[in-house]
Amino acid sequence: MKSMHIVTSLIAGSLFGFGLALSGMMDPAIVKAFLNPFGEWNAALAFVMAGAIGVTAPAYFFILKRDEPFFDNTFHVTHLKDIDSKLIIGAALFGIGWGFYGLCPGPALAQVFSLQVEIFVFAAAMLAGMHVSQKLSDKF
């Protein structure tokens, strides 16, 4: 079972990385132009989300009706309902960072083999941010 998880993840990750590369999400200039509806707007990236949700939403509808996935005995989805301050503040900060540099986590990681120093800095800072955030959450 565990080894099958790894195989699926490797395939799914590759598909995801290929999709990101094709989509334009890995180019900070395109991302910033997408987040610029009040300026020189390039709305192309809306199609990335539309395409992804267009596939995922109908598929999830049927998949989540099953008792279990193929290689596990449960679906690991959160049942949290609360729209709390952590969610809002976290999402707000994420958006600020995304607009500031033009990369969200997936595209930043998919850029690793481009061997640009800035990508390594971004990825390392992202990991540090995650761990600091978790430490603070555990405390308060």
């Binding site: 790894i6 195989v7 699926t8 993840s9 395939i11 799914a12 990750g13 590759s14 598909l15 995801f16 999709g19 990101l20 590369a21 989509s23 509806p37 300026g39 390039n42 192309a44 990236l45 990335v48 539309a50 395409g51 992804a52 267009g54 995922t56 598929a59 999830y60 996935p69 290689f71 596990d72 679906f75 690991h76 949290l80 809002i88 976290g90 999402a91 900060l93 994420f94 958006g95 600020i96 607009g99 500031f100 540099y101 990369l103 969200c104 986590p105 930043a108 990681l109 998919a110 083999f113 481009s114 800035e118 971004f122 390392a124 800072a125 990991l127 941010g129 600091v132 955030s133 959450s137």
Partner: protein, 139 residues
């Protein structure tokens, strides 16, 4: 009529379909959400149980690498210098951990199962992203 699509929308759409297919595989076979920030955080513990997380991230590297190699094009260059990367990366990491997801986990997977939290999170990060870019263009 102004052109609001200055880069290829077919590529954007097909890229999105592939990302969606990846999310479907992860749920159907492993019962997991294809949320990159969460997967990265778990992977960073480098434990035996986090091997699949590492495999997914390695997949991201090779999937993108294959695309650029195959098409004989260069990776998009980042233009902002490393201090910007340091600040941007930290805020993205901090925010995604606190908010429990990013563009993939909330924006694709969460919205696809109509999670109210994910819908709210996506509206919030889209708004602050737009706000940030708009303000930065004024400075």
């Amino acid at each position: 009529m102004k052109n609001f699509f200055t880069t290829d929308i077919t590529n954007a759409l097909i890229g999105g379909l592939l990302i969606g297919s990846s999310a479907v595989l992860m749920m159907l076979f492993n019962g997991r959400v294809a949320g990159i920030s969460g997967i990265l955080y778990q992977a960073s513990h480098l434990k035996l149980e986090s091997l699949w997380h590492l495999a997914f991230i390695f997949g991201l590297f090779i999937g993108a690498g294959f695309f650029f190699e195959f098409n004989q094009v260069n990776y998009p260059r980042v233009t902002a210098t490393w201090p910007y990367a340091l600040i941007g990366g930290f805020i993205v990491g901090f925010g995604t951990r606190l908010g429990g997801g990013c563009t993939s986990g909330h924006g694709v997977c969460g919205i696809s199962r109509f999670s109210p939290r994910s819908i709210v999170a996506t509206l919030v990060f889209m708004s602050t992203g737009i706000l940030t870019v708009t303000i930065m263009n004024f400075i």
